[in-house]
Structures are given as C-alpha cells and as structure tokens.
C-alpha cells in the first residue's frame, strides 16, 4: 500500500528516503505472533509510520520527528481516520515494543484527534486527562532528559491541554441534558480536569524547567549544561526550556479565561520581549496566541494604548507571515485570531480617549472603518456583538451546583 504520490510532493513518500529502522524485517524485528486481530487490520502504512516514528523519537532526531508530526500524521489522519479514532495505544503497543514514553506521546495525538469532534465521549475526556497527568509527570520526574521534541509539538501539547480543559468546563456546566448517573459521576470526579491541578501542572513545568532564571540570565542557563554535574540546569535542554516557556503563556491564557487579567499580565514579566530572538517567535501559533491574550488583558484593564500597540504590531506581523502557513490547521487558527484582533482593536479605538488611529492606518480602514463609526456613536449592541465574537471562551472555575440541574455559565 505505497502512497500514490503522483505529484512527487506527497510526503507519504517519506518511506523511500527513510533510513532503515532495523536490519531484520520490515517491522524492526518485532515478531507478529502476539498481534491482535485489530492490529492486523491497521493499514500497513500506518503501522510503518508508527514504527518509524518511534525509532526517530528514540534517536531524538528532531528534523524527522518534526516532519512526521506536522505532515505525515495529519495526512494519515485524513486518509484513514477521518471521523473515526486512531487505533488505541493497547492495539498498537506491540509495534513499538510497549515503549512507555512513546505511547504517552502517541496517546496525546490520539486524544487530540478525538477532541477534534466537538462532543467527545466522556471516556475520551477522562483518558485524555489521565494521559496528560502521566505525560507531565515524565517531564517533572526528569524522564525526558535524553529526548527532544520539536517546539511546535511542545506548544501544541500545552495549547491542547488548555483547550481540553475549557471543553471539560463547558461540558460539566451543561447539567440540563445529563442523566442522574452522569451527574453522580461528576460529583465524585472533582479531581478530573480540576482547575487547581491544571494550574499546578503549569506552574510545576515552569519551575522544573528553570526557564525564568534562564530568561533573566540573558537566555543562558544559570547552572551547568552537563547532566552529570551537581548543579546541572535543566534549562540547558531545549525540550525543558520550551515546555516551561510555553507553560508561562499557558498561565496567561488560563488567567484570562478565569477573568483575572491582573495576574495574567503578572506571569508574563519574565518573558524575553526585548531579546533579538524571543522564544515565542519560534512557533507562529504561540506568537499570535501570546499577543492575543496579552492585548485582551490590557483591554479589560482599560489600558487601551497598550492594547492598541500589541494588536497593531501583531496584526502587521500576521500579514507578513500568512503566506508561509497555508497548511490547514495553523492557518485557520491564525486567521481567526486575526479577525478577532481587528474587532478588539476597533473596540479599543472607540473606547480610548486619544486619537491613536494614526498608529495603524489601513489596518482598520478596510474592514472595520464602518463598524468603528457606529461604535463611536454609541451603538451598544455592536459592542456586545464584537465583544462576544472576539473574546476568549471564559470559564467558571468553581464546581457547578449539581443539585440544580440547569445549564450554568
């Protein structure tokens, strides 16, 4: 089942240039005796992909992992698993010799794919939570030292973690459509996707990675870069540095979702905004997300000038990078944030007493000039409409009142 790459640019053709995984056999010497029925049914292309993926992961081969993660996985998803789930970790485990850490990463992708469905099954939500806990514990227990993951994947892990937390809070708040059993279950499951645990994991990752001292030290580790030294500094390793850094931005987002804008801006203090190569520029989605939430926090604290500055610069930046991101998932996301920031920018202009429109001529004029005039003349319903469209999906951190079965939010 070789991929029909007629144009020659089909990246499923990766196998022709892939280094052989093992000298013996197409499956890296893994015997097929203990294969389940389900495993035999998994398409051969997917099986090869998994074996190869795990091998590259073990080698810490960043370049290959990046292309497997960004390109091949989504192509295989689209080809074989559109609207269905990938095979469970139990099924494919023999292919990767029950590699514990690799399977946690595989499950991260597995559950992320399941959450593309707006209403994932409860089991999926629970499994995803459990998996994130295990995965983060690997980082926190120093089990990720010999591995490396591309920054885009590390960003997506944190981003998706928070997205699934949002989804859980919204799911939990919709009590009217739930059965008695479901409500009983929720009552007993306060530890699942618990807001405190979510916050604690993010804080723990920031602390573990030692990224704050790294940032304050001019983007250099404070301690030693040698793992065998006593004062070995984890921020010397890119994989820890990135997960810690992205967790800071994760905290910014969570505090915004919980309507604590002051704390949201406070957690950003260590960030390397003045550096010539800030880490947030390494992943476009991270860059856009950072400034979207930052600008929104400024707006909610009535720091209109700061919000305008942040939104304008980011919108101009997006205008420059859009052409490099026509691949589906990131492009849609960046486009959506672009539109939202335009809406927020017009709200800022309407609320700010100063004539700051000189800051970004042409940005607003095309799309929102009309709306800006209406806002300035006091059209409250337009404010509401734009605000509802452009603001993040707020969540309530408290447990819903299970005794009053109605939808809160």
């Amino acid at each position: 089942s070789v991929a029909a790459g007629s144009q020659g640019t089909d990246s499923l053709d990766w196998r022709s240039r892939a280094a052989p995984v093992a000298a013996d056999g197409a499956h890296g010497g893994v015997s097929t005796e203990n294969w389940s029925e389900e495993l035999h049914q998994v398409p051969e292309g997917v099986r090869h992909f998994l074996v190869y993926f795990r091998a590259k992961f073990r080698e810490a081969n960043i370049a290959e992992i990046h292309s497997l993660y960004e390109d091949v996985f989504s192509k295989l998803s689209a080809r074989h698993y559109k609207g269905t789930d990938w095979p469970s970790a139990e099924i494919i485990a023999p292919l990767v010799e029950d590699d514990e850490i690799f399977l946690l990463l595989y499950k991260e992708l597995f559950f992320r794919h399941a959450h593309a469905n707006p209403q994932p099954a409860l089991q999926m939500r629970l499994g995803a939570w459990d998996n994130y806990c295990k995965l983060f514990n690997q980082f926190l227990n120093n089990r990720m030292l010999e591995f490396d993951l591309p920054p885009s994947w590390l960003w997506d892990i944190i981003d998706e973690f928070i997205y699934q937390f949002e989804a859980w809070c919204q799911y939990r708040a919709r009590l009217a459509s739930k059965t008695e059993e479901e409500i009983e279950f929720l009552r007993d499951s306060e530890h699942v996707w618990n807001v405190n645990s979510v916050l604690q994991y993010l804080h723990a990752l920031v602390n573990k990675s030692n990224v704050c001292p790294w940032l304050l030290n001019g983007n250099l580790p404070v301690g030693s870069s040698n793992p065998s030294d006593d004062d070995f500094d984890l921020s010397a390793l890119a994989v820890y540095r990135y997960i810690g850094y992205f967790s800071i931005i994760g905290l910014l987002r969570i505090h915004c979702l919980l309507q604590d804008y002051r704390l949201a801006l406070m957690v950003l203090q260590p960030l390397d905004f003045d550096s010539s190569d800030p880490l947030y520029t390494h992943v476009s989605a991270c860059h856009v997300s950072l400034f979207y939430y930052m600008g929104f926090a400024y707006l909610m604290m009535r720091r209109y000038n700061d919000a305008v500055r942040v939104f304008s610069t980011t919108l101009m930046h997006i205008g420059r990078i859009k052409q490099f991101h026509t691949r589906s998932y990131q492009y849609e996301q960046i486009n959506k944030r672009n539109e939202q920031m335009l809406a927020l920018l017009s709200i800022c202009f309407a609320c700010s007493p100063l004539q700051t429109e000189q800051a970004s001529p042409g940005l607003l004029r095309e799309k929102y000039a009309d709306k800006l005039n209406k806002l300035r003349s006091g059209d409250v319903s337009l404010f509401e409409e734009l605000f509802l469209y452009a603001s993040p999906k707020f969540i309530s951190p408290s447990v819903p009142d299970y005794d009053s079965p109605s939808d809160s939010n």
Binding site: Q259, Y261, L263, M300, R302, S398
Partner: protein, 233 residues
Amino acid sequence: MSGVEGFELEQEVTGLLQTRRYDPEILPRLEAYVAQQVALNKYDSDANMAVMKLYQFYPERYHQRTVVHILAKSLMALPATDFLCAMYMIALPRQTEHPLPLLSELVRLLETGMFHEFWARAAEVKTLRSEVTGFDGEVRNFMISVIARTFSRIELTDLAKMLNLEGGANAAKDFVCGPEESSYGWRIDPESSSCVLIPPTEFNSAAGTSAPTNRERLSFRSIVASRSLFNST
C-alpha cells in the same frame, strides 16, 4: 494589633501567596490581613485580589463582609483599576447583593467626575466609610488629582462642595493651602481672594500657540546629543 504583629502578618501573607496561593485554607489569614488593612489604612492589592480569586474558585467560602472591605479599599485606590478587576471575579448573581450595586455606582460617579452626586449617594454607606480608616481622605485625594488636571483656578466655595468639606470656603482653604503636610500647597489668587490657583501642568494649561514653531527649531546641542542618528547599527 501592635505594630510588630501587623508586620508579622504582612510577612506571613507574602509567604503564603508565594507557596499556597490557590489553597483555600489560607483564607482565614488573608481575611485577617484585609481587616488589618482596613484598620490601619494600608493597602495590598495583590493579597486582596488573591482573596477574590479564592472566593471565585470556592464560592462556599465567599464572605461578603471581606468582599465589601476589599471593594472599598479598591475604590480608595482610584484611578487604579483594582475595583474593576475585583468585580470581574465576582459571580453575576452576587453582584446584585447590597451594597455592591451602590459601590459600583459610587465608582462610576467618581470616574465620571460627578462629585456632588457622589457625596449624596455616599451618605448611604456612612457606617462603611467610618469603618474603613481613611476612606474619605483617599476619596478627596483622588478628587483633588482630577480637579488639578481640569482647573487652573477654582472658587473655594465650589471646591468645598466638591470635597464635601464642612465649613465651606474656609475649610477648603485650609485643606489645599494650609501649612500642614497634608495640604497641597496651592495659593490664594492674588486677584480674587475667593479663588485659589492650581499649579499649572501640561493638563490644566492652554496649549501654547508657539508649539509648532518650537518643534521646527532643533538646537545643535540636541542633534549632537543624539549621535546615534549618524551611526549605523
């Protein structure tokens, strides 16, 4: 509470916020700290926002008296947006519980410069105002800062009404021109003893007509000083 005990509580709270910010069990200590701020006219916005956050996470621990005190202290911190930030973390149903709507209204009146109306409505929370040490003083401080940006001179009787000072023009005179440390050092207008002059700043002075010309004139000294214009980076 003695001075030493007060300082110890402050230290304790700082430590708690660093290590156990999201732990509801620290609430009793934080609530005591809020009471201390109220009694001693001190202010710690970070600790107060941490209390609001814990009430948001654990609504069963919501303690209205503490919330009202925090909101009153936040009002006293105007023009900082602390009041707004605190309100964001209060659930909508709770925001309608007395006296929260009144406090929101008082903030609105202060922010829109409706000072006479402010004092009229503030009569409804006389007890709170006397409970929270320094409340009226901080409000007057805020009002003065607004007046100083808007007026270059003002009638003393008007000033007295805006600041709700008993004793009319004389009280106002003592308040802004008096020799005490707490006064603002303003001067009586030499041309009209019923008015007081406010020190001119960029906010309360008319824009100079020579402004455009000033910009055109660049002194040689300022060009030499910004030598970076001639260096390539």
